[in-house]
Amino acid sequence: MYFNVFGEKVSRAQWKEMLTAMKNRQEIIAAGLTRRDLLKMGLLTSAGMLVAKSGLSARVPDRCFFNCNQCASPATTPWVQPLPIMPIKRRVTSALNPAPTIAPNNAGGEGRTRAHQSPIGSNSNLPFPPPNIYQVVQQAGQVTMSPQLPVQTIWGFDGISPGPTYVSQYGSANLVRNVNQLPLSNGGFGNNEVTTHLHNGHTPSESDGFPCDFFPNPNIPAIANAFFYDQYYPNVLAGFLSDHQPNGDVNESMSTLWYHDHRVDFTAQNTYKGLAGFYLLFDSNHDSGNELTGFHLPTFPTYDIPMLLADRCFDPTTGLLTFDLFNLDGILGDKFLVNGAIQPFLHVSPRRYRFRWLNSGPSRFYQIYITDLNNLNANNQFWQISNDGNLLPTPVQVPAVALGVAERADVVIDFAQFAGKTIYLENRLEQVNGRGPTGNVLAAGQGNFLLQIIVDGPQVADNSVDPATAPQFFALPSTNVQPLVQREFSFDLTRDGQWQINGQFMDCNTVRFAVTQNSVEQWTLKNFGFGRPPWTHPVHIHFEEFQILQGAPGLFGQGDSRFYFRQENQSTGTNAARKDVVRLLPGQQVTLFFRFRDFLGRYPMHCHNVVHEDHAMMLRWELATVGDNNPRP
């Protein structure tokens, strides 16, 4: 599928010509030719326009030719690499040195600036040190993303991308010593000062990966040479110190989280370079990871597979990963990776599997279908069991799953119906630029193919629950509560192209508003661009999950909705859920219900199209013992 800069489909021949044109232009620029030179060479008309010579597009003067969404990655052969399965992160086998401390050990090289907050160390749910200690090292690694691409450098946790998968249990806290061994030499993009966010843990602020908590930070003398940062992950249910003492509200259980770099202004570069991975939360009585117990969901890891989706661009000549540094819209890749490999294959047995889908960005929206090339018209429904990694009250049968950047969905697919067949996961959402999807859903087989699934594995026992029997997972916490404070946030672009929220710009040092600890708030998010092409923003709030009271986005292309929301949308189906990322569609307004509990400190809210995030569609808020009631902060 080839597109030109206007989003129009072009033939492969036309695309190759555009590629030549781009190279020609680059050579002209690189040669530093002046206008007189270009005129002398007959490449400029007297009006100053580049001539429509074969290879030099006549449209060049009217449209951008650099910084357009024009990936031209080299050809790669799909379905030749097996789907990588990330290793499970193991606990350390010997004591950490220096030993972890509640107060930051700056003298010993720790980059933390705030102590692990009370009551860590004095609450039975928050022991210090906690029972599970990990050490992870952020470092450069060499990877092959496709046999046709050269071995190349990425940045990853433990040198792999995606990073290792954390497997954690509720009620058993973790301490992760996060070591930074990233090089200064970045091959063109990436910043080796980092801060790691666990998306979306109920995590105390000092361990949450706040964007300005990067380390080392030469502007803060105490951490100018820091090389590690201890992060405390309580693995505790929200409400444990407030309205659901002592162990929290089980209906706030989360299952599929991810971790990634969150360094202010460089998040897109660092995550694109590979700094991301999964973090899974289990509980023996509920999402147990064992299909014989708890909710009887397919056994992890054999039949429960996390899949990190990413779209990327590679240089047409060198085959190296390339990042568009001065792109403000959003970056669209033309290569589709799952777990770090381009278009891999997976063999499965004809039984139920749980897949955990994560859209890691940078900017694309997905709507994922099951496609059978021998039966394109089939409506291959499957079961969605979570939204943003939080189990739904009960499974919902769906034709597809929509994912903005950072959204997750757990699905259960019974491959028995496809025994002996080869099928595909296909993204059918049309998108031609980084601003958002067009709203069109392409016909089956016309989209982006992500994963080939070959159902030729051996017959094996399937003791997992059949979603059609309507098993009950978690109840939704009540939203029938008067909020203490209501606020609204307008996500906008100034006349001169600067992102803002409520008319203000990003600053880590500005606390826009404070939420009172252990209170309920209602936030309305608005996306009203004036007279511009439409933008779609996946907005994310740290620390707590929310429920959507109204304006929930549906699947793209359903009925008359296309990509426009319906204000009166009740949150039904998969939107009757706890979430932490909401797709804010053009002209849309959505109302969210939050409980903010247990911990204190600074957190951000931001668009998770990481290109917008870096430019900088973000603000800082705080949880405080006494908050404010500013309705439009």
Partner: protein, 211 residues
């Protein structure tokens, strides 16, 4: 050869002066860039000839960007919109960064109306705002300036907005060319925040330019 040595040598053999002078002019670094830096240069930093508000002709990449920490934004002299505010903001940023500006950090304001903004007009604009040294206002041939604007990504996806000079981008590009560290921040953000952002790419800390 540094400036001191050259001056000492120039005191001697007059015939050698020409050769040395040529060498001095070409003395700006012509060693090849690493592939990563070269790819960035080719894509984003066309080596167009510009004229500064002091009337000096410069090549954009070779003279203004290479081996420097740069902050790049747009403006035009008769701007009634966002430019005065952003320029005033940058003046504050310059003060916050002190003598780093002009040494390793350089501010560049490129006009979006090169056909109107002569170097003299830009100089008047700069003086109006009391900009300090290390900050250049730049104009040039309209095609070159347009090429530069687009290469830097200061474009709007809506063609009508893109043509409207009064709505040119208020974003700033900032970066450290030698380290391939490039980012952007809002020109209307707090001056302290912009200064802090620029400081992040000011590495290694306290490096002084070779004289």
């Amino acid at each position: 050869m540094n400036r001191k040595e050259m001056l000492a040598t120039l005191a001697g053999a007059p015939l050698a002066v020409l050769a040395l002078a040529r060498e001095a002019r070409a003395g700006k670094d012509e060693t090849p860039l690493s592939p990563a830096r070269e790819a960035i240069r080719a894509r984003y930093f066309p080596n167009v000839v510009l004229t500064t508000h002091e009337g000096k002709r410069v090549r954009f990449f070779d003279d203004l960007i290479r081996d420097k920490i740069a902050v790049i934004g747009l403006m035009y002299a008769n701007c009634q919109g966002v430019c005065p505010a952003i320029t005033a903001n940058l003046v504050k940023v310059q003060k916050l960064l002190g003598d780093r500006v002009g040494r390793d950090i350089f501010f560049y304001s490129v006009t979006v109306k090169p056909e109107e903004d002569s170097p003299a007009a830009l100089k008047a604009y700069a003086e109006q705002f009391h900009v300090g040294p290390g900050w250049l206002f730049l104009t040039g041939k309209p095609d070159d300036v347009e090429l530069l604007r687009r290469s830097l990504g200061f474009v709007d996806p809506n063609p009508e907005v893109d043509k409207d000079k009064t709505r040119h981008s208020g974003m700033l590009r900032y970066g450290n060319e030698a380290l391939s560290l490039w980012a952007s921040c809002q020109g209307s953000a707090h001056a302290s925040w912009i200064a802090e952002s620029i400081s992040w790419v000011d590495r290694p800390k306290g490096k002084r330019a070779e004289s």
